[in-house]
């Protein structure tokens, strides 16, 4: 019982057995989180540093909680409050931290491939908490865990990923994962936000009509418009985007079935997702957040274990 990899850099490098193992392990950690005392001593002697070179609420708190529930020692690092602003390089920063005997690094960085670069140069295990527009593996794992919890399995389920596919690391990690686990995947959104080669590269369906996408799917994973990563005009206004691609209750009620609504957060209410849909009983957005802690506990546990001796 072991992962085939020392780092979690992306879903792309994982085997389907690895994904299965992480999800099964997370099930057991979810039970721990329901106990009167939600903490186990498993990683008592492991030190983990959380390196966040980019803003984050959910992911950072979720990782930190997961580490604390496993009894690991944690150090938090935020780029804006560090020597990075004095001009220190990424490798120097991390090597300095590692020389203080740190076992694992959880890193978020705005540059795609930053954790892969680090993995080549340092001995510690690295968990990618989001790198640029590349991958966000733990988000895809918790999305998969939530779908599995709600619908029983991933294989054969129809999942539509809706919105800013081009700039979303959540979309890419989800695509890899869902395909590896045998789900049917569709990407939907305006043509300007969906890369051209999508269909050939990933063997997924591409749909430009939101209603058709919703009619097709069992699960709709609605993504945020990543305005901070767009340096050109890809749609005329947020209001227009919302009119064509915003998911709302009226639209959901017009379908002849009840689909599951997911969102990786943070939600731009009224843009990609309306409040009446986000807060409806079809939405599992808050369960996703809850499951995030269990999934991250599983990842840290599986990467930390079996490396001593």
């Amino acid at each position: 019982m072991q992962l085939s990899t020392k780092h979690l850099l992306g879903i792309r490098d994982l085997k389907s057995d690895d994904i299965q193992l992480i999800l099964d392990t997370a099930t057991q950690f979810k039970e721990v989180l329901q106990r009167p005392i939600k903490k186990v001593p498993t990683l008592r002697d492991v030190t983990i540093v959380n390196l966040f070179f980019e803003n984050s609420t959910r992911t950072r708190i979720s990782f930190e909680l997961a580490e604390k529930r496993l009894s690991a020692d944690t150090i938090n690092f935020t780029a804006s409050a560090s020597s990075v602003s004095k001009g220190e390089s990424l490798l120097d920063t991390v090597n300095n931290i590692l020389s203080m005997k740190v076992d694992m690094v959880v890193m978020r960085h705005s540059a795609s491939g930053a954790p892969h670069f680090l993995a080549k140069h340092i001995p510690a295990s690295i968990v990618n908490a989001g790198d640029g527009i590349n991958e966000h593996p733990t988000q895809a794992l918790l999305d998969a865990f939530s779908i599995r919890e709600k619908l029983g399995s991933l294989a054969g389920k129809r999942v539509a990923i809706i919105g800013d596919i081009m700039h979303s690391r959540v979309a890419l990690s989800n695509l890899y994962l869902l395909k590896k686990m045998g789900a049917e995947v569709m990407v939907a959104g305006p043509p300007t936000l969906i890369p051209k080669y999508m269909k050939e590269a990933f063997d997924v369906q591409v749909e430009y009509n939101l209603k058709k996408a919703l009619e097709w799917c069992d699960v709709a994973n609605v993504l945020r418009i990543q305005l901070e990563r767009q340096n050109q005009v890809l749609f005329s206004s947020l209001r227009e985007y919302s009119l064509a691609y915003g998911v709302n209750k009226k639209l959901l009620d017009s379908l002849n079935k009840e689909i599951v609504i997911m969102h990786p957060g943070p939600i731009n209410r009224g843009v990609e997702l309306d409040s009446d849909a986000a807060d409806s009983k079809q939405s599992i957005i808050l369960q996703q957040v809850e499951n995030g802690v269990a999934v991250r506990m599983a990842v840290l546990y599986l990467l930390a274990g079996g490396q001593g001796e």
């Binding site: 099930t27 009167p36 930390a304 001593g308």
Partner: protein, 174 residues
């Protein structure tokens, strides 16, 4: 393989142990039973079946505990996780821990740690099917013992259960 308990002896032993537990815990009034995953469960399931013949089934509180998260050798290698299912509080209860083989005592040490996360029990007792004497690495003893045996480290005690192994007996493997 040398047989330590035959199928018939095994079932008589389990009957005796269930009576011994009842002797000390009349009607299981304030007592809960907790089997240790994974292989202790086969034994604890049978203990519970025996107890159901003596006390009303709804009186019996029975949970399952996986101790993997509490092991002292996490960094030496990972172990397969099993499900923990303790759907009641053990605060101020008498807990009878149930496992098949008592060897080094490390599993029970971890189980005692794990129990604390479910409340503060009034008392914890240990019920063991096979006690491998003289091989303990920690000061832990059973309160109820099916059979004590003397064995050396190179030997292995294996308890076979019908649903898992297709036969029911206890053997000593060289």
């Amino acid at each position: 393989m040398k047989t330590i308990l035959t199928e018939q002896q095994l079932s008589i032993t389990i009957q005796r142990l269930s009576h011994q537990v009842l002797e000390n815990h009349i009607d299981l009034e304030n007592t809960v039973l907790i089997g240790i995953q994974p292989r202790g469960i086969f034994f604890s399931n049978r203990m519970v079946d025996e107890l159901k013949k003596q006390v009303p089934a709804d009186r019996i509180k029975y949970g399952k505990l996986d101790i993997t998260f509490y092991r002292d050798d996490v960094r030496k290698g990972l172990h397969t996780l099993n499900h923990t299912d303790i759907p009641f509080s053990i605060e101020n209860k008498n807990v009878v821990l149930i496992d098949d083989v008592l060897y080094t005592g490390r599993t029970i040490r971890a189980a005692l740690d794990a129990l604390q996360d479910f409340g503060r029990p009034a008392k914890v007792e240990l019920c063991i099917l096979i006690d491998r004497r003289f091989s303990r690495q920690l000061p832990i003893q059973a309160d109820y013992t099916g059979k004590s045996i003397d064995s050396i480290i190179s030997q292995k005690v294996k308890v076979f259960w019908t649903e898992k192994d297709g036969k029911q007996e206890v053997g000593l493997l060289e």
